[in-house]
């Protein structure tokens, strides 16, 4: 008679197994969070292959540093921060940040305020990925992750003014791209209906 094999584990058990370097638990952790973290990576990368690289590097860092997790916050939040920081490193390597004039009060006037909700998630992701790395990173950090301009300035080693102006530019470009892309993506009817 075969002994019952345990197939479900708690998060603590998975973490403990990963700390012990057991490949089985590392794979379990990977399959638990890979999709969510891949979403993060896709937002920061400009292409699918780049997002894969970010995901791979991020998980290697997670497994190599998992013993540093102190259970003070959620484990998912801890993993997410690792992936965001990993993406910031990617930004530092690739970004060529130019100081632009203050353009905070900037918006694309032809943008439909409800257009985002009408977009499919994959299409929205593609539009975000089409931004340059500087705009994309700052928009992600501010609009999605919820960091302040001061925090972004410290993380990216730029001024707050640069962060604000880059964010304004990023928003403007996103609105414009969404407005322009919707007809091409088959949203004409929906967009017109919305109007």
């Amino acid at each position: 008679m075969q002994a019952a094999v345990k197939t479900t584990y708690t998060e603590q058990e998975i973490i403990a197994g990963c700390i012990g370097g057991e490949r089985k638990f590392q794979e379990l952790l990977y399959h638990t969070y890979s999709s969510k973290m891949f979403s993060v990576c896709l937002r920061y990368a400009n292409e699918y292959a780049g997002a894969e690289d970010l995901l791979q590097d991020g998980f290697v860092k997670v497994f190599n540093n998992i013993q540093k997790f102190r259970s003070e916050g959620s484990f998912e939040g801890w993993i997410r921060r690792i992936f965001v920081n990993n993406s910031i490193e990617y930004f530092r390597k690739k970004a060529n940040m130019y100081v632009v004039q203050e353009t905070e009060a900037l918006t694309y006037e032809y943008y439909d305020d409800n257009a985002v909700q009408k977009l499919m998630k994959e299409d929205l992701m593609k539009i975000i990925q089409s931004l340059s790395v500087g705009y994309r990173t700052i928009f992600n950090l501010y609009a999605i992750e919820g960091y302040s301009h001061k925090e972004i300035a410290e993380m990216l080693n730029i001024t707050e003014g640069t962060s604000k102006s880059q964010l304004a530019r990023a928003r403007y470009l996103l609105q414009k791209k969404i407005a322009e892309a919707m007809p091409n993506m088959g949203y004409n009817k929906v967009s017109e209906e919305a109007k």
Partner: protein, 257 residues
């Protein structure tokens, strides 16, 4: 559209994008886990190799550390030995200080006619008589001036002036040194060109019938080696005295001439 309206519109846009992307979980490439797994294998392999290198570095460092510690220890040991053995440093490590400076009297005695050969037969006697050395010190300080014993033939043709001024360092040093025994039982003895008969023994035996043996003669060459130079040459003569079957008692007689 004023700035406030633009700001509100932008905030609405941000929240719309955030909500739209919430819960978005794209399909992850299947081969990605294999890549991560192989990457972790590489890391583990390098981790296994690293301790060897670290151990090698630690060993090297340990060797250097031990070498430095040994060098420091050796330096300290040699320094301490040199300082301790230096008779000019005021530390007497070989024996208890005998006494403060003792000024002996000056005596004029004659020169012996015959010089006896030096024999190395009684070296151990002095080295083994630590209590005797103490007795010597006592006797050295308190012994009255007596005449030269009868066993030493004195032929006083030319007078010699001998001033005995011992120092505690000198006496202590001499006790520790190897002795050059000289017997004077039947022959007169000359020590360092000084006729034994001409010496004025401050601590000579109480009885003239005692056998007197010159055990040692040492001058202050050591002092010169250590950089100090005495104008006068000082010699120390160690004399053994036999009381029937009792152990020998040693007397040290420093002389200056």
């Amino acid at each position: 559209m004023n700035d406030k309206q633009i700001e509100e519109r932008n905030e609405f846009f941000d929240s719309a994008v955030r909500e739209q992307l919430t819960g978005f979980e794209p399909q992850v490439p299947h081969a990605l886990w294999n890549r991560i797994s192989s990457e972790l294998d590489k890391g583990e392999a390098s981790d296994e190799a690293t301790p060897i290198a670290e151990h090698h570095e630690r060993t090297l460092f340990g060797k250097w550390k031990f070498a430095i510690a040994a060098a420091v220890l050796l330096t300290l040991t040699v320094g301490t030995l040199l300082y301790t053995l230096n008779p000019n440093n005021g530390i007497n490590s070989t024996s208890t200080p005998i006494a403060n400076k003792v000024n002996a009297k000056t005596t004029t005695v004659g020169q012996p006619a015959v010089t006896a050969p030096v024999q190395a037969t009684e070296t151990k006697m002095v080295a083994q008589t630590t209590p005797a050395v103490k007795a010597v010190r006592k006797a050295y300080i308190s012994a009255p001036k007596v005449e030269t014993p009868a066993t030493i033939t004195a032929n006083t043709t030319e007078p010699a002036t001998i001033e005995t001024t011992p120092s505690k360092d000198q006496v202590a040093q001499d006790v520790a040194l190897e002795f050059a025994p000289v017997t004077t039982q039947n022959n007169p003895v000359e020590v360092g060109n000084i006729p034994l008969a001409s010496l004025n023994f401050l601590s000579t035996p109480s009885s003239l019938n005692d056998e007197i043996t010159v055990i040692k003669s040492a001058d202050n060459d050591k002092k010169k080696k250590h950089g100090k130079r005495d104008e006068q040459s000082t010699k120390v003569i160690v004399i053994g005295k036999k009381f029937d079957s009792k152990p020998n008692i040693v007397y040290q007689v420093p002389v200056r001439f």
